[in-house]
Symmetry: C2
Subunit: 687 residues, 2 copies
Amino acid sequence: MLQNLANGIWKISWGEPEIHTPLQHRPMPPAAEKLQALPAAPPLPLQAADFDCQINRRGVTIRLPMGPTEDIYGFGLQLLSFNHAGKKRHIKVNSDPRIDTGESHAPVPFYLSTAGYGLLVDSYRYVTFYMGTSTDRGASSAETAVNQQHQEFSEDALYALKRSKEIRHVIIEIPVAQGADLYLFAGNLQQAVCRYNLFSGGGVVPPLWGLGNWYRVYGGSDQTQVLNLARQLRDEAMPITVLGLEPGWHSHSYSCTYEWSDLFPQPERMIQQLTAENYQLNLWEHAYVYPASPLYSALKEHSGSYEVWHGLVPDFADPLARQIFADYHKTHLVDAGIAGFKLDECDNSDNNPSNWGFPDSAAFPSGMDGEQMHNALGQLYQMTLLQPFVQAKRRTLSQVRSSGALATGLPYVLYSDLYDHKEFIRGLCTAAFSGLLWTPEVRSCQDAEDLLRRLETVIFSPLALLNCWRIPNPPWQQYDIDLNLQHKLLAKAPRQALTAAVRKILQLRLRLLPYLYSAFVDYYLSGRPPIRPLVLDFETDPETHSIDDAFMFGPSLLVCPLTKADQGRRKVYLPVGTWYSFDGAERYDGGQWLQVTAAADEIPLFVRDNTLLPLAQPVTQLTDQPSFLLTVQSYGQGPASCVLYEDDFVSLDYQQQGFKAYTVSRTADGSVHYPDLGASHAYSWQA
Amino acid sequence: MLQNLANGIWKISWGEPEIHTPLQHRPMPPAAEKLQALPAAPPLPLQAADFDCQINRRGVTIRLPMGPTEDIYGFGLQLLSFNHAGKKRHIKVNSDPRIDTGESHAPVPFYLSTAGYGLLVDSYRYVTFYMGTSTDRGASSAETAVNQQHQEFSEDALYALKRSKEIRHVIIEIPVAQGADLYLFAGNLQQAVCRYNLFSGGGVVPPLWGLGNWYRVYGGSDQTQVLNLARQLRDEAMPITVLGLEPGWHSHSYSCTYEWSDLFPQPERMIQQLTAENYQLNLWEHAYVYPASPLYSALKEHSGSYEVWHGLVPDFADPLARQIFADYHKTHLVDAGIAGFKLDECDNSDNNPSNWGFPDSAAFPSGMDGEQMHNALGQLYQMTLLQPFVQAKRRTLSQVRSSGALATGLPYVLYSDLYDHKEFIRGLCTAAFSGLLWTPEVRSCQDAEDLLRRLETVIFSPLALLNCWRIPNPPWQQYDIDLNLQHKLLAKAPRQALTAAVRKILQLRLRLLPYLYSAFVDYYLSGRPPIRPLVLDFETDPETHSIDDAFMFGPSLLVCPLTKADQGRRKVYLPVGTWYSFDGAERYDGGQWLQVTAAADEIPLFVRDNTLLPLAQPVTQLTDQPSFLLTVQSYGQGPASCVLYEDDFVSLDYQQQGFKAYTVSRTADGSVHYPDLGASHAYSWQA
């Protein structure tokens, strides 16, 4: 039976549910009021009778109908596929998802269908979804199938994805479990994903500094070198707001001690000095606790049956383990001024030469087994290290390498060791279908153009990250890793040119900060992802259903990133409607493909009709009281508006007090009306 | 409790066994007499108390100890790994095993350990083996682990496979099952694999023609074109013994009808004409039965719950389904003179764009589920199509894309759509650890050198196959696929040179035929694989433990294939002992690495000390009564012998009557003694 939980959200259950599931460990309660305030949901296109559920020794198998033209999106961060119709997806966390099986750093047992619904399987198991891959025995007859003698003489032709004309099924296999709860979200793609996100508690509101530019420092750096780099970035007027330290800060790593190493003799002083220069500091770690760590003895009895890299695997499904781990981090790191963490390797490796990880059959004191813990670890680890910040009444924006279901409200951004630029752009599109945030971090590059192209993508992502862990000098001084390690920098002229080009790109991020922050507040309020593929906004335009190389950034900007492989030229699809170039000089009719060219330091942006776009004057640093001098760029002729949200940008007070909202509007006569910003600390209008 | 089954073979069981397992469907009974005749086995290095077994809702988990220096081989055909120590292996059939997870066309839940045993898990499940990947919680202490501050600033360094110094465990996870049977085989690597092979019934004895050279014909060919090609090969004096037809012979394919298409209006006549020219004919198929097939209605109730490519999936675990399928093939194809089949796509796809295959939760009338059937299908399909040949009292050598446990006695050779030459060579090494046969087929090539290099490898494999399914003209006339399709052949001079070089390589295969046939008879009698990695013969020489790019061919030849990437030059390790060049001119001390160079049409071969190598004069065709004019090349000075086996080369009479054996021997004084071949039809000595 379908049980209605909220406006447009339904539940259907069979058998005996498992004790540990994403819902049982949900990071946030549903945003019930916001869900209730949504317009009434369209009817769910599925009835209880559409579902068939079998429970046997294998686990649970559920079938539901899938139409021949249904498109399918979601399943978490997916770097290799966009539309999953006709494919098999295996929801198993994997640190190296090199082939298109559905495995991922952040696989989520949640999909969206263009039939008008989203579906979440509440399980940490390695669930397999067959999205219309199979027809029932007897469904075919000699008449319905078309090909005759074999005509295809290449492997590519033979195994190409062919959509069939029959009604097929979605088949969902949940291993081990003897029962299942499914959650259904009614509406078109955007409506269903907003419902899922609000059901997960609503989107993240990051601290403002988290939306600036990040720079992870060379792994071999000591305290002096970190401070020198920080100084150098300021001297170069590089608008960097966050620095990150890599494993070298631990006295032992792989596995970790969570104690400062000899490289950092006075960490408190370093934090103070960085704070004085308006940097936030982020620390790398993973969850595997080395025997020499002060956490070891307290956690030993609250850990899994196997070690990883000689370290304990804390049982974060056990509240006591969470408490021990969180308390330590609060006392020793968060209270000392650390702004966030990078939670590495909470995914699991099947493919790396070293096959690190614990067995699926591992046992945890909470009763979880290894399979469940693998798919849960990212989510639980995020929750654990969010705790010290919540206690300190501060926000964080942190990094994590694995995530899962219902993680929308967790202030963490995913990253990967994989590095294909086009796949990284696809990740920006796919993560949005499951309430996840993803950074296509800039880590290395072939040449100056590649560096700029990757930077242009990353500043239009949730986290604008340069991960320079392998190079002691900034990449704009030398992008070649080996030469950089030898401190052989580029010649002066190309170095200055590249530095200026990088600065300009990073500045653009900060100019868009008020706009982006407001988009995140909207994510919190309405569930609409701040960065999302075109199909989420333009579902009725079928051309958007396969576009995974361009995306919406905030309410109004369409971003068309180029990669080095594009050689300065690519096609972009403008959905039905009217569009403008970023500078407003060009007007385009939508519903067409456009050939665009862009110099290495340019990223094509298109603006929706009837947009008011707030843009700030460039700033280099974000102080405790950030201040933006704004202009509003106006596109189109009709009525338009934009909202600027303001609060203290760092605390959790917004959860009680909400935000101040300033609405700029344009009336039918074309005149733009600016709100009174008298009460604002953050915003002012440029004369 | 360890139960002794035979000389050096033990069984240990827990819980309730599953109904369908490789042993329940074993293709052949154990070769009990041959096992008994082996020297007494060394003691098994494991006691019952070494095993721990847990049975719960996840299935069965078994642990046993693994020492820090133990090397691990096996798990079926493995193209990406050789030594599996420190790795996780997932025994799941996969048509595109592109990453090193243990998945394969022919994964086998069987491994060999240098600790002195082999272990078979009798299960069709997707068993996972953790080969020393994990230490128990508490096994590490701050003192035992060595690395301190993090020093590794590249992903490669970070995730490199590091063997640890602790005692770890083998952990075996069998999903779903509530019981397990393990079979243990005592001895060093070669002894254990011979025991496994004899337990599987002993090695294959192929028909002699199967060991000749194979040529699969262009997929778009009609009957006339096939006959023209056959004629052309004879005109060119190419020693091809088998022709293969691709999907176009079916009236419908993907899925199949098993009926001749309009391209072949007189198949009986074609077969007669090919037979007259001493060709055997092999036909491609897969097991998925199209609705228009004459087999469809009889099989419908004996098939799985889902279709593949609109075709039935026959339940080959059901004897009746096997009977229907086999009888049809006997009546319509085998009795008409077809010599064998190519059983395609009995593996399963997780990765291809089209994700073909049936769900793991599929149900089969026999009670098998989809997971079991995926891992069983290759084995059961082979057994099904062996039946008509057994009934006809004829041998076959056929091709198959998937296989599994206990398949040693099945006359099928594996192949793959993957195509890396070095991986294909590794496959020759790894397949031998599990009683499998593998062909590194020649399918396409970058240039003439690549063609020759690949041919040089394939003639030293179980099946010397040119798979020309994409090109209407032989590759020595044009190796570029597009030009070949346009019938634009190479210029005369390079074409003639390439043709001669190819002919010379293919001739070498036929010159070695008596030697290779005898090695296969030895496989049948003793279980020793005819083609095997060096470590199987030289386990006490530790350098051989990682060599996966050279191998033994028959008792005495060490083959050192080059790939195009080697650019004519590579290193080869000669194990401890004395070695000779193939022509006998050079003598080498073993226990050293040797730099070798080889022209494009040369493959370096090394001969073991004290070898008598029988070599035949080149022949182009194999008649019903093959006849070889032999010389014996003599290497070294000490006592030596070689055995030539003879029978009718095609029937199954050897199973009752055995073989005639002719032993050439060299006594301590260096004189070679030839046996009287008076009774031989096949062999004669060159004057």
